[in-house]
């Protein structure tokens, strides 16, 4: 916040390029504070001597440009913009004795502190990662013998565990006959087999219901299974290019017919 406070546009080509590259990079920022830090660095001064007013201006300009380029900025960027606009007015206008809350200078100082702290943490992170690291620069024992622990492992299992385990298996067992019982299931493979044999005769549109196996209409469970598999099988045959399928409206009967124009 010094001399170049009011030198509105000393936009050199380089500055503009820098600003534009910022905008292009907007996705690369980790939030507004990161964007501010990047902008602050373009001032090429010690972060402690940063002009927050200039920074606010840079940031608002950055947001404006993003808008002009129809780049959608996340809400937090806009919140920051609003806050910086407020800060800017606080810094520019003579202090209003009526107004409560911290002064513009205090706010600016805190923002500068945040930027400096973020930068400091980034530097610290870089220094940390630059250290010699275990498994990369220095190594632990490759062949640890340590685990010759005499582990007296006591396995805990209670009678309850045992009984519940047994009950679990036995009851599962009871249902196995059902699993085996495929009487009510008409598989898609079966449906495919059946239809493959029949489509040769389907020169004209035929309701797929007529392809369902005999005797599967009465029992609702069997009918459902057969309908589903027959439908799935007809889709498969359509995919193979052997059938055409149509349905005139929702819930209307589904028709299939043999495909004749083998155009491939």
């Amino acid at each position: 916040m010094t001399d170049n406070l009011f030198s509105e546009d000393r936009d050199t080509v380089a500055d503009r390029l820098a600003a534009e590259s910022l905008i292009v990079d907007v996705d690369g920022f980790e939030g507004p504070l990161d964007a501010l830090l990047t902008l602050a660095r373009t001032q090429k001064v010690d972060l402690r001597k940063i002009s927050v007013l200039q920074l606010a201006r840079q940031y608002l300009e950055f947001v404006e440009r993003a808008k002009a380029l129809r780049i959608e900025l996340a809400a937090d960027y806009l919140v920051m913009a609003a806050w910086l606009a407020f800060l800017k007015s606080r810094l520019l206008l003579p202090p209003d004795p009526e107004e409560e809350g911290p002064s513009g200078e205090e706010l600016a100082a805190h923002l500068a502190f945040q930027l400096e702290r973020l930068q400091a943490m980034r530097d610290a992170a870089a220094r940390l990662m630059a250290r010699d690291q275990l498994g990369r620069d220095f190594f632990a024992r490759g062949q640890a013998e340590d685990v010759a622990r005499i582990k007296t492992v006591t396995y805990s299992a209670t009678l309850l565990d045992l009984m519940q385990a047994y009950a679990r298996i036995r009851t599962r067992d009871e249902f196995r006959p059902y699993v085996m019982d495929r009487d009510h299931v008409f598989t898609m493979e079966q449906a495919l087999d059946r239809m493959r044999g029949l489509i040769g005769f389907a020169g004209s549109w035929t309701d797929i219901v007529s392809y369902m196996p005999d005797g599967w209409h009465a029992d609702p469970m069997r009918r459902r299974s057969a309908t589903a598999s027959t439908f799935a099988a007809s889709l498969e045959l359509v995919k193979e290019g052997q059938l055409e399928i149509r349905q005139t409206e929702t819930f209307a009967p589904i028709h299939v017919r043999r495909r004749t124009d083998k155009s491939d």
Partner: protein
């Protein structure tokens, strides 16, 4: 680093091997960090050109004589190993209580309810194959042991529970184990996993066709 009198070789020479003391350090680091014993050839490949790993190894071996660890030859390769008489330090007696795996407890349950019982029978009842490890574990725990061979083709071995098993579970005999009806009456079968929370059948071998959903394997 000053142990070696031959340390005079210029350290920045690109083509000369590092001083022997330095080579010894290298061998030490490599043997330490490597998961497997390292062959002389491997050492040679890793160390700067012109190094003499055999000589460095010999120095290192001697350095560790009488120490807590030693440099030993393992086949054609070399390794650092703790001195055998200090092995007792590496043992740490810990008593760990672990829950028996589900496979183990189920296998045990089947053996206890169906003994003598072959592995094939266990698998049939569980519906999945039983790993050797599971059986071994139970054998090792002395909870099951081998029973008589079944007089069927292949003469498969059978398993029965042991007195230790009975002791552990506080049973007089395996016949005292409650049947399914009792288990159900005691409310032990209620925490069944979904889906289709189904009625607990008794021992009857299932012609119930009232279960309209496939029973899903848990886990």
């Amino acid at each position: 680093m000053t142990e070696d009198p031959r340390d005079e070789t210029p350290p920045d020479s690109l083509f000369e091997a590092p001083p022997l003391a330095e080579q010894e350090r290298m061998v030490e680091a490599v043997l330490f960090a490597s998961a497997d014993p390292v062959s002389v050839r491997d050492l040679e490949a890793r160390m700067p050109h012109g190094s003499d790993p055999v000589q460095a190894l010999e120095l290192l071996r001697r350095r560790y004589e009488g120490r807590g660890v030693r440099v030993v030859q393992v086949g054609e390769a070399w390794a650092i190993r703790t001195a055998p008489e200090l092995g007792f330090l590496m043992q740490k007696e810990t008593v760990e209580t672990r829950k028996l795996s589900r496979a183990a407890i189920e296998t045990l349950a089947i053996v206890s309810y169906h003994q003598p019982c072959t592995r094939a029978e266990i698998e049939e009842i569980r519906g999945v194959s039983v790993s050797r490890g599971t059986i071994d574990q139970l054998l090792e725990m002395d909870w099951i042991r081998l029973g008589r061979r079944r007089m069927t083709p292949g003469r498969p071995v059978t398993f029965v529970v042991t007195p230790q098993f009975l002791d552990h579970f506080g049973l007089e005999s395996a016949r005292d184990l409650p049947g399914l009806k009792e288990l159900r009456a005691a409310g032990l079968l209620e925490n069944r996993p979904p889906p289709g929370a189904m009625p607990m059948g008794e021992e009857q071998s299932g012609e119930d066709d009232d279960q309209s959903e496939l029973f899903e394997e848990e886990e």
